[in-house]
Amino acid sequence: MTTAANMDAMRRLFEGFSSPDVDFLRRTVDELMVPEFITHGDALFPLVHGREALKQAIPAFKAAFPDATATIQQIFAEGNKVMVRVETSGTHENEWMGAPGSHKKMTWTATSITRFNDDGKMAERWVIEDEVGLLTQLGVLSL
């Protein structure tokens, strides 16, 4: 698959993430990722096997941040990989990470590299989110 097609797939993933329609996001995940998709994450979510685990996490996150959207700040690609920096923002309406809904708007960044297979499906991803930033805004971490 071309780097242009892979970058379009990344954009579609973030469009799905930014939709209030949870089913649309689930279908987007199924379309774009292989079932055995691997996420190499960070302190809070170090390793996630499979896209089912990602889909299972969607309802709780969307309940916590119903209007969450992801904006791509930078995106580029080489070979079978795409690198992205995004900013996610949303209003904290319900419980997340132990913090009850505050109705405050929160913003945090994340950087990722996604590896695509020869069929243009996402196979593997390395991602780091600004967990310190989010946890501080949620009031469950203070430095």
């Binding site: 690609a77 690198m83 945090w108 994340a110 950087t111 390395w126 600004d130 310190v132």
Partner: protein, 140 residues
């Protein structure tokens, strides 16, 4: 161009971040460098602020070094996936030196123009660092 730009970023990690070579910093980074960082490490603006942040980091972690696990490059943009390692030998975020080895992952993008780094976007697993020095819990 992306091979040359990737070489510049490798030198930045090796000579500037690793060895604290500030002549190399002046060679490799533009004076009006723009940083897009994250909450714990901040976003030092300009080469001078970047230099100060590296000095501060080396005072906490004199043996700081980065292993580059993967690179990705296209035109002016270079991306790095890396593993940072150091020993906690100096005060860090008001925590007295523990002597512990710390390690964490980072993902960073650089824009390189005319042989100089002009901008960076990064996320580091800062929560992991805080957990390793006892400033953050493991569970939330």
């Amino acid at each position: 161009m992306s091979e040359e730009n990737t070489a510049i970023v490798r030198r930045f990690y090796d000579e500037v971040m690793g060895k604290g070579d500030f002549d190399a910093l002046n060679q490799l980074v533009a004076p009006d460098f723009v940083d897009h960082g994250e909450s714990m490490m901040g976003s030092p603006q300009g080469r001078e602020a970047l230099r100060q942040s590296i000095v501060a980091m080396h005072s906490s972690f004199p043996d700081f070094n980065v292993t580059i696990d993967d690179t990705i490059a296209d035109g002016e943009m270079v991306g790095i996936r890396g593993t940072m390692k150091c020993t906690h030998q100096g005060k860090f975020m008001n925590v007295a030196p523990t002597g512990n080895e710390l390690t964490w992952k980072g993902l960073a993008m650089f824009r390189v123009v005319d042989g100089k780094i002009v901008a960076r976007w990064f996320n580091s697993d800062s929560l992991n660092i805080l957990q390793q020095v006892g400033l953050a819990p493991v569970n939330f």
